[in-house]
């Protein structure tokens, strides 16, 4: 026999109260890694200004990072598979759109989007979001790009910049 304590009754009531609350929102998160080089430099500034603004990131031959990319997607969980999106499909899409063109490449030289655009991780994050938001099987909520373990950047497509 189940004996309900007062605490249980309270929590049952709390549950009833919540049953009319907003539905649950589930996101799937996936992490990927790529290594790429970049140089922070703009023709719009003088050599001195570039050195002042970008410091050693403006060194002429560039340098590289091991980037960590995190993507969160949302959507209905298919009862037949228990999944928001098939992981193999998501992995193939990210491989094609981001990892293959970026991994072991120079962002400045090899990625068209960074011709004339400084490949800061802010801009990299936006470029990756723009590529990944086209994933047809789920909604891309946001991407997070970690440049080093001490700095990371997130973008959810909201250009007004208010945090969600």
């Amino acid at each position: 026999m189940l004996v309900h304590s007062k605490d249980d009754q309270r929590s049952d009531l709390a549950e009833l109260g919540r049953s009319s609350a907003a539905p649950l929102h589930i996101e799937l998160g996936r992490r990927y890694r790529f290594a790429a080089s970049h140089r922070l430099h703009t023709e719009a500034l003088s050599a001195e200004e570039n050195a002042r603004v970008f410091g050693k990131c403006a060194n002429p031959f560039g340098h590289g990072h091991n980037y960590l990319l995190e993507i969160n997607v949302s959507g209905d969980v298919d009862p037949a598979t228990g999944m928001i999106a098939n992981l193999a499909e998501l992995d193939r899409f990210v491989e094609r759109e981001v990892l293959s063109p970026f991994d072991h490449h120079s962002l400045n030289e090899d990625v068209e989007a960074f011709r004339g655009v400084v490949p800061t991780t802010e801009n990299l994050c936006i470029e990756i979001y723009e590529r990944l938001k086209k994933f047809p099987k789920a909604k891309v909520e946001r991407v997070r790009v970690q440049e080093t373990s001490n700095n990371s950047f997130e973008y959810d497509g909201n250009q007004k910049g208010s945090a969600s």
């Binding site: 549950e15 649950l24 929102h25 589930i26 799937l28 998160g29 969980v77 037949a80 999944m83």
Partner: protein
């Protein structure tokens, strides 16, 4: 509002198989996760509670109590268990991260009486996780 997060780890086995699909379809959809005897993961669970610190104790909630809730509701139910066969709440469901995180949310939410449950994040590995929120609370 302050967010407070407690992390626990548990080890469990599972497999993905939908009896409504043929053997070939199961293999195609689930790949090696469909291997018949299952496989296991070290799961990491992060539970985040939101609230205002109590002016007397300085706490959003008593972490000791949260620890006990997690032990009772999650560890005893899932740690060193075969999720498909031994966890009642997952019967008839494919035990993906998405489904497990929802079950964990539903187990924990009614038990947390100080603050309110803000986010449950379940890692199946360092590179794969699922988040659960009440809609509108995502951040």
């Amino acid at each position: 509002m302050v967010l407070i997060t407690r992390k626990i780890e548990f080890a469990a086995s599972h497999l993905y198989h939908n009896p409504a699909l043929s053997a070939e379809e199961n293999r195609r959809v689930f790949g090696k996760c469909n291997n018949p005897h299952g496989h296991g993961h070290n799961y990491t669970l992060e539970v985040t509670v939101a609230g205002e610190p109590d002016p007397v104790t300085g706490m959003v909630l008593d972490l000791k109590e949260l620890k006990e809730i997690l032990e009772r509701e999650i560890m005893q139910r899932m740690d060193h268990r075969f999720l498909n066969y031994e966890v009642e709440e997952l019967k008839g469901k494919i035990p993906t991260c998405e489904n497990i995180v929802r079950v964990i949310w539903e187990l924990l939410e009614p038990k947390i009486r100080q603050g309110r449950l803000h986010r449950v994040r379940l890692y199946e590995s360092a590179d794969l996780f699922a988040d659960c929120y009440r809609n509108g609370a995502a951040c």
